[in-house]
Symmetry: C2
Subunit: 221 residues, 2 copies
């Protein structure tokens, strides 16, 4: 059958649409593709742990990429503000983009506060529950505020920043996240290990690779 969608006739030859699917990509990459969805208060360690995890996965030969405020807020979501509606749309787009990265065979790591249960639930459905791993960076508000180098919490307490999660806008804790990292007392390295252990146990990355290229002192300065 020839149609505009699936192929062309060229001379006497019919060309069909070639395809590469997610399974093909996972096969060549040597690992499954998933979304690791980090959630937690501002300064709970999401982005730092996400990047440390990315580095470790990369050193093991995994294809992975981190999305955080740095590369999304000024790009894909640059048209969005911080109203409730815009924050919802922000998470929706990040979810859709993660889905495409998963299709492309990558381990997509996202690091956004994403304070609302319903929105995280929507992304879980969108990506597919088997491919969505919720990683809760559990850290007391007190510790997050102590880490407030940028002064966001201070400004939120003074009312200069409106609807700031944890201060003037709720954070809804995950009810059954796949992974909980107690980041008020866990090291970055311990947190990364916890995630890697989970990925190995779920056969998302092969066990043998876990420690293959590990360089424990690498992130130390």
């Amino acid at each position: 059958m020839i149609d505009g969608k699936r192929g062309f006739k060229c001379g006497n030859i019919i060309w069909h649409k070639a395809s590469v699917d997610r399974q093909d990509r996972e096969c060549i990459n040597g690992h499954k593709s998933v979304v690791l969805w980090f959630t937690g208060l501002s300064n709970s360690g999401k982005s730092t742990i996400a990047h440390a995890l990315e580095k470790r996965l990369f050193d093991m030969g995994c294809r992975t990429f981190v999305f955080d405020g740095d590369n999304v807020r000024h790009g894909l979501c640059s048209d969005l503000g911080f109203s409730m509606e815009d924050r919802r749309e922000n998470i929706r787009r990040i979810g859709e983009m993660s889905r495409l990265f998963v299709e492309s065979g990558m381990v997509a790591i996202t690091a956004f506060i994403s304070p609302f249960r319903a929105e995280r639930g929507r992304v879980r459905q969108l990506v597919g529950p088997d491919s969505f791993i919720e990683v809760y960076c559990k850290c007391s508000l007190e510790v997050c505020e102590q880490r407030d180098v940028k002064g966001h919490y201070k400004r939120a307490r003074m009312g200069d920043i409106k609807e700031f999660t944890g201060i003037s806008s709720p954070y809804e804790e995950p009810e059954s996240p796949e992974i909980v990292l107690e980041t008020d007392h866990m090291c970055v390295e311990t947190s990364v290990d916890r995630v890697l252990d989970f990925l190995v146990a779920r056969k998302i990355i092969p066990a043998a690779e876990k420690h293959s290229s590990r360089m424990p002192g690498e992130a130390l300065k």
Copy 2:
């Protein structure tokens, strides 16, 4: 220096943010990351050639992914209609997403009509001119209309579809595309070869790989 952005103090150890950059990814992938931006009329062959190219690149061991209406319009851009403004926003988001895929080390292939020069120019600037390869699928309107299996052109001629590119909305031909594929008489395989030759000449993919896993009859049915 310790701050919330770059690291944490854990006991007496300071953790700095790990990082993997585009160059690291290109190195492990064995090829450079670029956007191949296909543009042309509806039914000019963009999506078919894009997928055939993806298959060939994949068989060579390259990391690549195609974005087309199928995986974008119902997902990332599902909130957008077909007004001028929405079409512009559609291309902007695809551009931003391509930029992230390029950062992640992939050869991103996009297949959208993208009729306006200014918008394609904006994506070129966004992605970076060195990473943006415009592929013009040049095909006469007559031939595109003959391939009109879905009846879109017919409906556009009857006025049932408004602002249809080539009929009731302009298509602005690229002024200096990197690659021109004359798809009204070129085969899919020839078109793919032309793109691969370009990628080899520009040292985006290694020369030796070009024919390594080539299976010429593969797309034939």
